[in-house]
């Protein structure tokens, strides 16, 4: 598919985005498109700013340059109430789950419904149980977040993210900490949510095979730039060394495993200074 038609059909488009934290330039002039009703994956080494990108899309961080539009709205130009109305239509699964620790699983999933709708409790109950059933945790509804494993917490958070039936959902590392069975279930769930509800999906993940299996389009980011993009097929056969290294998981290559530092030898034998 041509880049033009992708950008015409995009729900979220990122245009020449730059963002930095202090002296740390996290994005340099990045542009991306996330098509309506498709699953778009963002992959890249740890610490390149994938979570940061999701927060920029959600309007929680301000870019230093460039713009992000979601469904025709420039996220960072919206007034607060408009931004909140937009967010009601965006589900987000946080890397840490971000469950509210003073409520049990049931109330956590019911939280957005109770905050944003005036549905009667009986209807909320059926909705919550349906969402929990979808992530396989209907039986765990009375547990408190501290009684859940990391993987379970992430699944509860997923149930909560889809509670309001959003138009779009962003997953930050949905597979981390899942056993192969629930990983398989999640892959299936993400795909079926996307297919049945036409949910536009942005997924951040390190799990190359799972992601490649469901994604329609993949961006590989590193060092603040998009270093490769295309369908999973194209990415797999990409000529770029960078992309190949990432997809195969080799330590050596153009992408560095290490955070920028001086030579190891210098560091070890330099005396005097503490750091």
């Amino acid at each position: 598919m041509s880049a033009e038609s992708r950008s015409q059909n995009s729900l979220v488009s990122v245009r020449s985005l730059s963002f930095s934290r202090g002296d740390n330039n996290i994005f340099n002039d990045v542009s991306m498109d996330f098509e309506r009703g498709k699953i778009t994956a963002i992959m890249g080494p740890s610490g390149t700013g994938k979570t940061t990108l999701l927060k920029l899309i959600g309007g929680q961080l301000q870019p230093s340059q460039g713009s992000i539009t979601v469904d025709g709205n420039d996220v960072h130009r919206l007034r607060r109430t408009e931004l909140f109305n937009l967010r009601k239509r965006i589900g987000m699964l946080f890397q840490s789950g971000a469950l509210l620790t003073d409520m049990n699983v049931y109330d956590n999933v019911a939280f957005p419904l109770r905050e944003h709708t005036k549905l009667p409790e009986s209807m909320i109950r059926s909705l919550v149980l349906m969402k929990l059933q979808a992530v396989g945790l209907r039986g765990a509804r009375r547990l408190m977040p501290n009684e859940l494993s990391g993987g379970m917490a992430r699944r509860v958070a997923l149930a909560r993210a889809i509670a309001l039936d959003p138009m779009m959902i962003m997953y930050d590392e949905p597979f981390t900490g899942q056993d192969p069975i629930s990983k398989g279930v999640l892959v299936h769930l993400i795909k079926s949510l996307n297919v049945t509800l036409g949910l536009t999906t942005i997924i951040v993940s390190h799990d190359v095979s799972e992601t490649a299996a469901i994604a329609d389009y993949i961006y590989v980011v590193s060092g603040g730039e998009v270093i490769g993009e295309g369908t999973p097929e194209e990415i797999k056969h990409s000529g770029s060394e960078w992309v190949q290294q990432f997809m195969e998981g080799s330590a050596d290559g153009p992408v560095h495993f290490h955070y920028p530092a001086r030579e190891m030898q210098d560091d070890l034998f330099s005396s005097g200074k503490r750091y």
Partner: protein, 260 residues
């Protein structure tokens, strides 16, 4: 030397920006209070953790402070043959000073630190940020109900403290040391004034409740989202609240009782 001045300048600037953020935070919190009206449950839950859970420590401390006042007061006053005025002494010190101040200090330690730790941990575990992404304003949903609960609870707790303390003083003074029960109360009644003493005491505890809860919530909200950040913020809450309470008490006392 230059460095010293620079550090001074830096910390002054940091202090002012923090004050600015704190004020903005307070304004947002206050506007959020309006939205609690249709949802009293939010307030009730917080009244429980802020007010009810502080009740025990406040009551027990009130009892003992009153009993000690009764004992000390008796020994001092009996030197002058003025034991009958024990009631006045106990009631005046409790209602004007000790009630509002000590209960506010206890409140800062019991409820304030808990609020800071709770909010700080919610921030550290991305719960606040998660809420924002769910289009729920954490200030309105989380902060405002806690603030209102603190502001309502503090005067009630201080009244409880003073009332129990006065009874404690009576138990010791009249029960153990033989001060006449009638004069304990009647002397008190003729000397303690409703507006000058009781209402001023309530105003004090309201101000302390306002400031302590504000500090506690803001320190939690402004915390660096790590375990260390939360622990430091909690300490700061207790220390800053104590300073503010004592400083404000001096100012309020000078304003209220100065022209007596």
């Amino acid at each position: 030397m230059l460095e010293l001045i620079q550090t001074l300048g830096k910390s002054t600037r940091a202090g002012f920006t923090k004050l600015g953020r704190g004020t903005y935070f307070l304004l947002q919190t206050l506007t959020g209070i309006l939205e609690i009206v249709p949802r009293p449950r939010l307030l009730l839950n917080q009244m429980y953790s802020v007010g009810v859970l502080s009740c025990l420590i406040i009551s027990i401390s009130g009892l003992f402070v009153g009993m000690v006042l009764g004992l000390q007061g008796f020994y001092i006053l009996s030197d002058f043959g003025a034991e009958e005025t024990l009631g006045v002494m106990v009631a005046a010190s409790l209602v004007r000073e000790l009630g509002p101040v000590v209960s506010a200090l206890l409140f800062a330690g019991r409820a304030g630190s808990a609020l800071t730790a709770e909010i700080g941990l919610m921030k550290a575990t991305e719960q606040l940020s998660g809420m924002e992404m769910m289009a729920v304003d954490p200030i309105k949903r989380i902060i405002s109900p806690r603030f209102l609960a603190g502001v309502i609870s503090m005067p009630l707790l201080a009244a409880l403290f003073s009332a129990i303390g006065i009874l404690g003083g009576q138990i010791v003074g009249c029960g153990l040391l033989g001060v006449d029960d009638g004069s304990y109360w009647s002397q008190m009644q003729s000397k303690i004034d409703f507006f000058d003493d009781i209402i001023n005491g309530v105003i004090k505890s309201f101000v302390f409740g306002f400031v302590t809860t504000w500090i506690a919530l803001f320190e939690g909200y402004d915390t660096i989202p790590t375990s260390e950040g939360v622990s430091r913020a909690t300490t700061r809450t207790v220390v800053n609240s104590a300073f503010s309470i004592l400083g404000l008490d001096f100012i309020l006392t000078a304003l209220m009782f100065g022209d007596d």
